[in-house]
Each structure stands twice: as C-alpha cells, then as structure tokens.
C-alpha cells in the first residue's frame, strides 16, 4: 500500500529518517512519493568520505574531544546522505560507548566511522565489528577478561542491550559461558606513540574449553557467540523493536515487530528492515507522528542544516590553531558554537550517560531539558539575528510583519502545520518593534514549541 505523498508525511519522513527537511526538501520528497523518497534516502552512493579531525603526519598527536565534536557535527550537517548519518547516530546510541572511560578521542572516532560504514549492512557484520572494536573493548572491560577470570561486563550487554534484550532467550548461564568465550581479546598497542590501534585474540589468555551457549556445545570464541546470537528469533525481534523505538518513538505492536522481523531475518540486512519501517503504514499514524521527542543533538543538527549555519572544519588544521585564529576574527566564535552547545543541551557526542545510551521522550521533558531548550533557543536566535546563516537575510526582510515572520521561522524548522497555541506564541514573539529582537524571540519560541521539539 502506498503512503499518501502529502507534505505532512514527507516532513515526518525527513524528520525521522534524516535530520529534518528544509521546505524545499519536503516539497521534493512529497513530489517524488514516499517510497521513492525512502529509496533515495537510503541510497549510500553519494556518501562523502567520513574523514577525520586533523592528525599530524607523524601520527603521534591525536586529536581531542572538542575536535571530535566538531568533526561529527560537520559531517552530520553537510553530508549529502543525511539518512546514513542519522542511522550511524542511532547505532552510536545503541552501542553506547563513552569517551569518559575510553579516554582516547581517536578510538571513539574509529568506532563512529565503523558504525557509519557498517550501519546499513548486515547486522552480523556490525555485531562482529563492535565485538572487536577497540573503544568498546576498553569501555566494557573485555581486555581484563582472562581464562579463569572471565569478566561478564561485555558478554551481558552484548545480549541484553545490543542483540536480544533482557529476559529474552538467554540465561545467566549463557552470560557466563559467553564471557568465557570472550576471554583473551586484548589490545594492540603501538609504541613509542603509545596508542591503541586494535584488538586481537591472545591465545594464552583465552579459554579454549568447551562452552554451552544457547543450547549448543563447542569450543566457542567471540565470533561463534555472535554467529549463534544472530540466528535467534529473539535477536531479530529485538533489533527491529529498537529501530522502531528510536525512529517511531512508540511501543510497537506485535504485528509491526512481526512484519519487520520477517524482513530482517532473510538476510540480516539493516537497509532492508529500515526501508520496511519507513514505508510501514503504522509509521505514518498520528500516534507515531506525535510520539517522539527529538534528542537535543538531532535538534541542533536540524537547526544548523535548515538555517545554513556554519561549523568549523577541523579536518585540515589542528583544533587549537583554529581556535587561536578565531580569536582575532569578528564573529570567529560562531563556527565553534556546536562544540559548547552540546554541554548546554545535556548531550555530547561520544559521551552517553551509560551503556544504555541516551534517554527517550519524557526524559528530555523534565525541567533540565526544558530549560536547555529555552536557553539554547535564545542562543540560536542570537546567532541567526546577528546575520549568521543563509536564512538570516530572509528573516530580516520579514521584520515588522509578525505573521509572515512567524510562519517563515516555523517552516524553516521543517514544520508544515502547527497548533493555534504555538502560532499565537511565535507571532507574539515576532511582534517586537526591533528587528533583531523579533528574530531572537521568534526563533527561541519556535525552538521550544512542541512542533519543533517533537521529531
């Protein structure tokens, strides 16, 4: 059954599958039709190279957290394949790993690049890659797990959070046996730079005994554990449920999970199951359309993309040099804004609160999240009012016409229909006599509205 190619459906698709569309992109998606728009969104052929923050040619000077933030935002905002970036962001939350414990920004960068590379492919490849990922190894203590002293941290989360779900198809015994199979995966250290560059199986620390895992007996290693997991129906249902949770926001019905799992189990292809999700009639229900709060990072990327705001490009020069140079330039701080706004909104790339990833829906609506939207909305409003971004000029031209200014601001956020309450509020805000203040207030009020806050 085809999905009606309305502006409302097209805007919804772009908000969820990508970072949200500009008015032009929403029109184009509606004209193409939802199915064609989904196919185009999930086509990776125009994907840019992920790149890296600046590294010196000697390779010893790695970059830090600030450069990592800006590298990520630059790619997310400018990419020709926003749906691919959005999916990599989903996997980052799914396989949540924190630089707080890992400590090395280059290892977090390598993991984020891997999640992007494998994100649309086969789930078994992705699960295998995260099992051998260096940052993950450090984060969940795999490098400490040795024969005779298995550490359960990774083994448990591999099943609970990454592939099957707590209480679904495995027992504490399976956790213990998987932990044995996962012993001996150590880190590869390069000296004299003293950098971790990968993981490897160190036989002297690996448990080569027989294990009983998910009903089978064998001398299993980490790859065998992954292979056994991805065959299980609990795994198919869990992964589909997690995709629905983050893309649709609601609790999926049994029927929806069944539909998606049937697609997923054929080839374990994530691109197939995501296409099925984004073209599922249930995905276009009112409950789903009003069922997801945008995570702050998503809101920032949407704002930067749609209003054409600048981000520092850290690929060619070290962050510190760029930072020093910006000190002498009028407005030179603006391209840095996303680096510190991440602190303000309570969500930093590579810094989830725990291995469960970031919160969902109501989590962002407590007074912490609400005050951040007020405050960050004001800062974004100031940026735009001061002339930053391709859209600023158009908005200035509408000063003195509150209704038109309010409509232009809401549309620029990718909103195609709105409540009377919100529109009244943005019009009131846009009614300030002084143009800059009208833009600041209109943008900040719109930024905190349900229409923008809900993805």
């Amino acid at each position: 059954m085809d999905i009606a190619p309305t502006l409302d459906n097209a805007a919804h698709l772009l908000r969820r599958a990508a970072w949200g569309g500009t008015p032009q992109e929403i029109e184009a998606a509606a004209s193409a039709g939802i199915e064609a728009a989904v196919a185009s969104l999930l086509d990776p052929s125009d994907a840019p190279d992920a790149g890296s923050p600046y590294r010196s040619t000697t390779g010893d000077a790695a970059f830090g957290d600030s450069a990592l933030q800006l590298w990520w935002y630059h790619l997310a905002v400018n990419s020709a394949t926003p749906a691919l970036e959005r999916l990599a962001w989903f996997w980052h939350g799914h396989f949540a790993t924190s630089i707080d414990k890992v400590e090395y920004a280059d290892l977090m960068h390598a993991q984020l690049v891997m999640l992007r590379r494998e994100g649309l492919g086969r789930f078994d490849d992705l699960l295998e890659a995260i099992t051998h990922d260096t940052a993950m190894n450090l984060y969940l203590d795999l490098h400490l797990s040795q024969v005779g002293n298995p550490n359960e941290n990774f083994a448990r989360e591999l099943m609970e959070l990454f592939s099957m779900g707590a209480g679904h198809g495995y027992t504490q015994t399976d956790v213990e046996q998987a932990a044995r199979a996962l012993t001996g995966y150590g880190l590869v250290l390069v000296e004299p730079q003293y950098r971790y560059v990968g993981t490897e199986l160190k036989p002297e620390f690996h448990d080569f005994g027989q294990k009983l895992f998910l009903g089978r007996i064998g001398n299993f290693d980490g790859s065998d554990i992954v292979a056994a997991i991805v065959e299980r129906p609990e795994c198919h249902r869990f992964v589909c449920g997690r995709l629905w949770h983050r893309y649709a926001g609601t609790v999926p019905s049994e029927a929806v999970v069944g539909d998606l799992a049937a697609v997923f189990r054929e080839d374990l292809l994530i691109s197939d199951v995501l296409a099925a999700l984004l073209t599922h009639p249930e995905f276009y229900s009112d409950d789903v359309k009003w069922g997801l709060v945008a995570q702050p990072v998503e809101l920032l990327v949407r704002t930067w993309r749609n209003f054409g705001l600048d981000i520092l490009d850290v690929r060619d020069r070290p962050y510190d040099a760029l930072s020093a140079a910006a000190e002498d330039v009028e407005g030179g701080w603006m391209p840095f804004a996303l680096e510190w706004l991440g602190w303000d909104v309570g969500q930093r790339i590579a810094n989830p609160p725990n291995v469960g990833g970031w919160g969902h829906n109501e989590f962002w609506l407590d007074t912490n999240g609400s005050s951040a939207r007020v405050r960050v909305g004001r800062e974004v409003g100031h940026l735009i009012a001061s002339g930053a971004g391709a859209v600023s000029r158009n908005l200035h031209a509408l000063a003195g016409r509150p209704h038109q200014l309010a409509e232009a601001v809401l549309r620029q956020f990718g909103v195609v229909s709105w409540s009377a309450s919100t529109f009244d509020a943005v019009v009131a805000a846009a009614g300030d006599d002084w143009p800059d203040a009208a833009i600041v207030s209109a943008v900040s009020t719109a930024f905190a509205s349900p229409e923008v806050t809900l993805a």
Partner: protein
C-alpha cells in the same frame, strides 16, 4: 547597545556572547510574568491515575517535618568491600587479592569494619547511622536497567508508570500533585519522582535564571512563552508535556532563584578533600567530594532557605566496577563519605531534620573476578541522620551459601527498606506506596 548586539567585540568569547545575550533582554520591555496554567490543563493519562497537578504551594517545611535526600549509587555498589566482615576466612577466600585489609577499615563493632568512610563511622558512634543488610529482590535479572527501573518504580510490575518517591509525595500532599515537593539534581531524569507529570530536575548552574535580573531577561527574550505554554486542543500527550515542562521551568526558577541567588558559592572546604594521598588507598591522587558534594551543598542551601521541597535526589555514578575495582571503588565511597560530611556542615542545625537514604540497584558478585566484581543480587544501604535508627537492620546474607548463580541470597526486600524510609520520614504507610503487604523496616523514627 546595538554595537553589542552585532556581536562585534573581538575576540568574542563565549562568556561575552552570553553577556551580550543577556543585554538584549534588559533592553526589551518586559512582558507580564508567565501565566501559570498548569492547574487548568487537561489531565494526562498519568494525572488521571493520581489526580490533578496543581502549582507549587507557597508553604514551607514545617517544624517537625523531615526532608529526605536519596543518594543513588549508580552501577551497583559492592557490599563486601564497603562493609568488610572482620576475621572472616570466607570473605578472604571470596575476594582473594581484592580483599580490603582490615587495618584499612574503621572497626564499628566486632563483626564489621567500614572501609574508606570515616565520617559515616563517626555517625555510627553517635547512633545516627543505620546499616541495612542484604537488600534486593527475588527474581533480579542482574541488568542495570531492569533493576534501576524496579528501584525507581518501587514495584516489580513493569507497567507501573509512577515512581515510589512520587507516590509518597503525592500522599504527603494529600492527593494533590505538587511538582516542587520533589526535586532531583543532575543530568539523569528522576523517574522515581515521576508521578506522571514532568519530573523536576534542577538544571546545571547557569541553565536557569537564578538572579532577578536573569529572570527578567529570560521573560523578555522568551516573549511569547506565556502563550506557548497554553494547552492546545490538538495536543498529543507528549505535546502537552512539552508545554508543561516549559511552564515548570519558570515556576522552578521562581522557587529556587530567590533561595540561591545570594548563596555563597561552592568553595572547597577542608572536609571536601583529602588534600593528598589517603590512608584508605594507594596512589598519588587525592579524592574530593566532587560533583556529588557540590550538589549536596546546593541542596543544603535550598533547605536552609526554607523551600517547601520534602525530597531531593542525587546520583553518584561509577559503581559498576567490573575492572580496576581496587583503584576506583575506594575513591567512590570516600567521595560519598566526604560529600555527606560537607552536606552536614553546610546544613548546620538543619541537619537534624534531614534523612539521607542511599540506594543502589544491586550488590555485586561475592567472588572476585580477577580485577573487580560482576553484577550481583543483594546489596547494603545506609540511612544517615539524627532520625536514622542507628544500628544493623536486616539479616546479613551467608558468605558460603549462595543462589544458583553464585550470588547472595536476598534477606531484605527493597520495598521493606524504602517503605521504612517513607513511613518514618513522611508518616505515609508503606502499603500505600508499595505492595500492600510491604512490612516497613524501622530505619527512620
């Protein structure tokens, strides 16, 4: 003024940028203060369970009323290396090279030494420390997320939408929802405070308008917010919650702003840092009371200012010590100890009406894994304060007889423990907040 708004000063650092932003608000004529509308809002699903939300009362905490501060030790605190069994071969066998040396503990009686918590040991001597043994639940999944959920809900039923502290405060408010009776500090959403409307979390310093000048500036720049928070007929439950959250921010600012705007800023007081290597652990780093200490000091200032809030919640993370536990765990509990000492000092005589209750989602495996401990079942909890019933509560679990997974057999149901806090501190029957059959442990009087 116009000059400033063009953001032209160079170099314009972030601080100056924010200064410029504040300048704008001061210039624009202030609209009327935000209209409070939450009591007119349509009831959301959860509100229907619990009755309507009304705006914060202007009352204060009355004489004789207690304030509860819950401290969550996130990640699962290790029971055996916090409260160390003395002269126990079973303990040393389980912990091998991870065992705490007895001489590094403060002996509290013939059975136990308290590790790295000298201040709590002093409270024990005063009769102001309750130690609750073997706390957990049957049927634990050993998952952080499941077990944290269970503790926050105070219920093993995953369909329960409310938190135990939210329900208790609801009873305190005689069935009216009073959002500002409970408050959390820190980044994590306080689900256990959630009675169905937006939980109140005190934002980071600077993220909320503390000063009168800031509040006026916010109101000006947030022109239109009085309309934005008006419910719309077409609102979905989440859309209504967005508006409600925005409204609550201004309400919270009105409550805590005046209480905190003249506070003496956090300074590192002597009791908030070891000042150097500590006798409880090797290594060069010293330990300080950290973010937990800062948050508790803010809570002390709010209590001293007389806000009507009856329960505060803070979290200290990092207890998931699968690896390197010998380094991290002593520092965590030492930090907790120092933070509580700093809190008491800041409270002064008001410390008498404050009950501190810890909780952690589970204890850890009895057996050492070579570098730490994995997820276990029963843990231990502390209640601290003049109204704590000092002494041991609950039965210590066996160190030789375990469940089928090699974990402690739970001896104290977590609801009995929390029920004791609720009954003792709020006078609310445990059975009204938890399962009807819950028998409260007398940990607070």
């Amino acid at each position: 003024m116009t000059e400033e708004l063009k953001c032209s000063p160079s170099p314009l650092t972030r601080r100056r940028f924010l200064g410029a932003a504040a300048g704008l608000g001061a210039m624009v004529a202030a609209p009327p203060m935000i209209t409070r509308i939450r009591d007119r809002q349509e009831a959301t699903r959860a509100e229907r369970q619990l009755g309507p939300v009304v705006q914060a009362s202007s009352r204060r905490v009355e004489a004789g009323e207690l304030v509860v501060v819950t401290i969550q030790q996130g990640g699962g605190n290790d029971y055996l290396n916090t409260l160390v069994p003395l002269n126990s071969g079973a303990y040393r066998d389980l912990r091998r090279d991870g065992a705490v040396q007895e001489e590094n503990t403060v002996r509290i009686d013939n059975e136990y030494g308290l590790f790295a918590m000298p201040y709590l040991a002093s409270q024990w001597d005063l009769g102001d420390l309750a130690i609750v043994h073997g706390v957990g639940r049957d049927g634990s999944t050993l998952s952080h997320f499941d077990e944290t959920d269970v503790w926050e809900r105070g219920d093993t039923d995953y369909d329960t939408q409310t938190g135990w502290l939210g329900r208790a405060l609801h009873a305190v408010a005689n069935g009216r929802g009073d959002s500002l009776l409970g408050m959390s500090l820190g980044d994590l959403s306080p689900a256990m405070l959630a009675p169905g409307w937006n939980p109140v979390a005190l934002p980071e310093y600077g993220n909320i308008p503390w000063t009168a000048e800031d509040r006026e500036s916010w109101s000006s720049a947030a022109k239109g917010f009085d309309r934005l928070v008006q419910p719309d007929r077409a609102d979905s439950p989440l859309a209504a919650a967005v508006r409600n959250g925005q409204s609550l921010v201004f309400e919270l600012a009105d409550l805590v702003g005046p209480a905190l705007e003249n506070r003496v800023e956090y300074v590192e007081e002597p009791q908030m840092s070891t000042g150097g290597p500590d006798r409880f652990f090797s290594g060069e780093e010293y330990v300080n009371a950290g973010e937990l200490g800062e948050q508790l000091v803010i809570i002390a200032d709010l209590i001293n200012a007389g806000v009507p809030t009856r329960a505060f919640h803070v979290q200290q993370g990092g207890y998931d010590t699968h690896g390197d536990q010998a380094d991290s765990h002593p520092q965590l509990i030492r930090q907790l100890d120092m933070a509580i000492e700093a809190f008491h000092n800041r409270l002064g005589s008001n410390a008498e009406k404050v009950v501190i209750a810890t909780w952690t989602e589970f204890g850890r495996t009895p057996e050492w894994n070579g570098s730490g401990t994995d997820h276990g079942t029963a843990g231990m909890q502390f209640v601290v304060g003049r109204h704590a019933v000092g002494g041991h509560h609950g039965e210590p679990p066996s160190l030789t007889n375990f469940d089928g997974d090699g974990n402690f057999i739970v001896t104290t149901d977590f609801r009995s423990y929390l029920g004791g806090v609720v009954e003792g501190a709020f006078g609310v029957a445990a059975g009204d907040v938890f399962d009807a059959n819950t028998r409260a442990l007398e940990v607070v009087s």
